[in-house]
């Protein structure tokens, strides 16, 4: 089985987010980037297939050279090869088109992408990718078993779970549940050294539609100071909730 894990390079959640150029560009100065958590769940599940069923894992990311450390980390965790599509990822449609080219050229059986990235939260890529490839698609996937071409997948649905049967080839939109957080792997030094010698192919992008562009970013308003109200002054609390917080 040949697996492609699609990886977004996203800011660490502890990073301070700022914008430049009149709030039209994300300011990457001083920002630490990591593997998108939903993709990492997928990569870890792929490692299970590698170790138990002899699968081969390739990882792919759309981005400039700055995404390579993230791909190297995936290689250090255990992926066999990496591909970097050398362009700036803009919207989900553009990224999905780039990934579709890689899948067509690589003949993958299983494509795992996070159900959404934690930076722009578009949630579009796996669905569009499956559409472009015209293959099966399971989103919000929290369980995945494969025997031969037969796939049993569990999907999170409103208020419960749904078990689905399908076949490869397949696109999966993965998330927590594919593996648990405690199963996520930290690369060890031997893995990191081996990653230096693994293949990281850089491919040029195909002509694709860039459907949208960033017009402006806005940060949420800062949290106000906490007000403490004495427990015997309920009326004052109600007044504040009515007239200041305006929540009741």
């Amino acid at each position: 089985m040949k697996i492609l894990v699609c990886i977004s390079n996203v800011p660490d959640t502890t990073s301070k987010i700022n914008f430049t150029e009149d709030d039209t560009k994300f300011d990457t100065n001083g920002v630490q980037f990591v593997i998108n958590p939903n993709d990492e769940f997928g990569l870890t599940r792929a490692m299970w297939f590698k170790e138990k069923q002899g699968a081969t894992i390739h990882v792919v990311s759309v981005g400039e050279v700055s995404v390579e450390p993230t791909l190297r980390k995936a290689l250090a965790i255990g992926a066999d090869e990496a591909i970097r599509i050398n362009t700036i990822p803009t919207d989900g449609l553009f990224v999905a088109q780039q990934l579709a080219e890689v899948v067509k050229n690589g003949q993958y059986d299983l494509i795992i992408a996070g159900r959404e990235s934690i930076d722009y939260n578009g949630g579009m890529v796996p669905g569009i990718l499956a559409t472009l490839l015209d293959i099966n698609f399971i989103n919000t996937c929290i369980g995945l078993e494969i025997e031969g071409d037969a796939v049993t997948a569990i999907r999170e649905i409103d208020g419960g779970k749904e078990t689905l049967a399908t076949t490869l080839p397949l696109v999966v939109g993965g998330q927590k549940g594919l593996v648990e957080e405690s199963e996520l792997r930290i690369p060890n030094m031997r893995g990191i050294m081996m990653a230096r010698k693994k293949v990281l192919n850089v491919v040029e992008p195909t002509d694709s539609i860039r459907g949208t562009e960033d017009a402006k970013f806005e940060k949420p308003a800062p949290k106000g100071a906490v007000k403490l109200v004495d427990s015997d002054k309920i009326e004052e609390l109600i007044d504040l909730l009515h007239n200041e917080a305006k929540v009741i």
């Binding site: 502890t14 001083g30 990653a195």
Partner: protein
């Protein structure tokens, strides 16, 4: 949000930019490493620390390691951490490929250990001692000893310790009396060892003790001390592990580092404790001290790490806690205004900046010393190796002492930032305050380090080490003089360097007169004086790199990041460096009050 305990940006800025790790990676031994792989390793170590160390930090303090029915009970995470650290390569990192190591630079391993120690200073000691014990066997032990013990130690399955101290012999190792008697297949060992860190825990499959003992009939004093491998369990001919008559007879309950067990071991109660000689007889202390540079850097690093973690905790509190109001232009407070955050009070800012300059200055010192350690062993040019060895010798007592002593003061300031809450167990500062207090004592107390600095290092090779260090400081001063904004600070440091020469010109004649008691009587004051100047040098160096980054518009970090480094340097030069003037006054004062005075005057 999870509590921040380490500043990875500062660590990487110091490692890559200020101390130019590339000069270490350029050495042939490290050909398999580049900055990208080092960066990945450090990030992985941070993830590992987030997951396996920090969550257990407070638990380990609340449920201390303790002695119960002949065993030491430790937090369950100790066993898990040892195994995971082995898997990560953290125990094997420094060693040659041939023995299963990873041949990583000491500088990088130090940075990784620092991250772990900021997360939880109770755990890394178990790995550090196992690493140190394995290092002794690898360097000096026979092939059989290496094959029997090292592989299991590098995977974290077996722990390791250093057994030096005895009830009657602590700092004075010449007085140890543990005995080794030649037997058919090695030696039989009998004696008591105390203050043995990581000395025992129930879950350990085995613990390999490196024991200093005296072979029967050996010369008195340090010349008769040998080094032995004495495992808790020894192998039988068919490979089974059986008891080796190493008994845990108690432990020491401490004010801090409560999760890091400190044991009292008794060897040979049943006259069935076997030991195997490491290297040659009567060379034990020499072997042990060859490892001591690494151990002393490690102690300084641990103290620097706690200092950083405490700074991060107090900074977070100061940014969230409203209390009081800023003074208005009339000099009064406007009580109709909302309370301001405590970080806005100048005295709180002063305490935070003090912590910043100590924690980051100490880290810079640790990384520089580790770099000297690497270059002293791996540089292609033998003359350069010799130079770096002398610089390492000079800095070793300082790197052990500055972070420990000033770190303790810094953590106290961190606690003070929290006011009354700092004293309460609901907050983490009091734990850092208790944990760091051992560091001025570990691996040779501040007094001993100070005797080493002034009595040995300053005078070694007719002052060549001091001269080399002064040249390094001089290079930084000259570079800073060429940058307009930094020139005033360069001149200030230059003056302090001259002051250090004046102090030494006053003290050295006591050596020539053979008055060593007087020469060394204020060694600890000299340590404080000289360490302060060395850290001033490091801060000037940091600010040069920050200034260059700002001028060239580098975007690796934010502008605020670089500016904060220059601001911290200015703080150091205003609030810390001037203290050397008073210390110099003490050192050159002709009145002698601590040498020949009568003990009865202490009534």
């Amino acid at each position: 949000m999870a509590q921040q305990y380490v500043d990875m940006d500062t660590l990487k800025f110091l490692l890559y930019r200020v101390h130019d790790l590339q000069t270490v990676l350029d050495q042939a031994r490290y050909a398999d490493y580049d900055q990208a792989s080092v960066d990945l390793f450090l990030n992985a170590t941070k993830d590992f620390s987030d997951k396996e160390l920090f969550p257990f930090f407070r638990e380990m303090d609340a449920a201390p390691a303790h002695f119960k029915e002949g065993e030491i009970i430790v937090h369950p995470q100790v066993e898990k951490y040892m195994k995971k650290a082995g898997e990560m390569g953290l125990i094997a990192a420094l060693f040659d490929y041939e023995v299963g190591g990873l041949q990583m630079p000491n500088t990088v391993v130090s940075a990784a250990a620092y991250i772990q120690e900021t997360a939880n200073n109770h755990l890394p000691g178990y790995v550090g001692l196992t690493n140190g014990a394995a290092e002794l066997i690898i360097h000096f032990g026979s092939k059989a000893l290496n094959e029997t013990y090292v592989p299991k130690m590098l995977t974290g399955d077996w722990g390791g310790t250093m057994c030096l101290t005895e009830p009657q012999a602590g700092s004075s190792l010449s007085d140890i009396i543990t005995v080794a008697e030649q037997a058919e297949d090695g030696y039989t060992i009998s004696g008591q060892k105390i203050f043995i860190s990581g000395g025992d825990y129930r879950e350990a499959e085995n613990i390999v003790h490196l024991v200093l003992a005296r072979i029967k009939g050996a010369p008195a004093g340090t010349k008769g001390i040998s080094l032995f491998v004495v495992p808790k369990k020894r192998r039988t001919e068919n490979g089974d592990l059986i008891s080796n008559d190493v008994n845990t007879v108690g432990d020491f309950q401490k004010m801090g580092q409560k999760g890091y067990c400190t044991t009292h071991l008794s060897f040979g109660d049943e006259k069935d404790c076997k030991g195997w000689l490491v290297g040659e007889a009567n060379q034990g202390l020499k072997y042990m001290f060859m490892m001591m540079n690494g151990a002393r850097i490690a102690v300084g690093r641990g103290a620097a790490a706690i200092t950083m973690a405490a700074y991060q905790a107090s900074l977070a509190y100061a940014k969230e806690r409203p209390q009081g109001r800023s003074l208005t232009r009339t000099g009064k407070k406007d009580v109709s205004q909302e309370q301001t955050l405590i970080i806005n009070h100048p005295d709180v800012k002063r305490m935070l900046l003090f912590q910043k300059v100590v924690s980051e200055g100490a880290l810079s010192l640790v990384l520089l010393t580790a770099k000297y350690h690497d270059l002293s062993t791996t540089h292609a040019d033998p003359k350069e190796r010799e130079k770096y060895l002398l610089l390492l010798e000079m800095l070793t007592p300082i790197v052990k002492t500055y972070p420990s002593e000033m770190g303790s003061v810094s953590v106290s300031n961190g606690l003070q930032v929290l006011g009354g809450y700092g004293f309460c167990t609901d907050f983490i500062l009091q734990q850092y305050f208790r944990d760091i207090r051992i560091f001025p004592i570990y691996e040779g107390t501040t007094g001993i380090q100070s005797l080493d600095l002034l009595g040995r290092k300053v005078t070694m090779e007719n002052g060549k080490g001091v001269l080399l260090l002064s040249e390094e400081i001089g290079k930084t001063i000259r570079e800073a003089l060429g940058i307009d904004t930094l020139a005033p600070y360069a001149k200030q440091l230059s003056g302090k360097l001259e002051l250090s020469q004046e102090v030494l010109q006053f003290l050295i004649p006591f050596v020539k007169k053979g008055d060593y008691q007087r020469f060394l009587s204020d060694a600890t004051v000299f340590m404080e004086f000289f360490g302060n100047i060395v850290v001033g040098w490091l801060w000037l160096n940091i600010s040069i790199q920050a200034e260059k980054a700002l001028v060239s518009g580098e975007t690796q970090y934010t502008g605020d990041f670089y500016t904060s480094k220059i601001h911290a340097m200015k703080f150091y030069f205003k609030y810390e460096l001037p203290k050397t003037t008073a210390l110099a006054e003490i050192l050159t004062n002709k009145e002698v009050l601590t040498v020949a005075e009568e003990n009865s005057w202490f009534a």
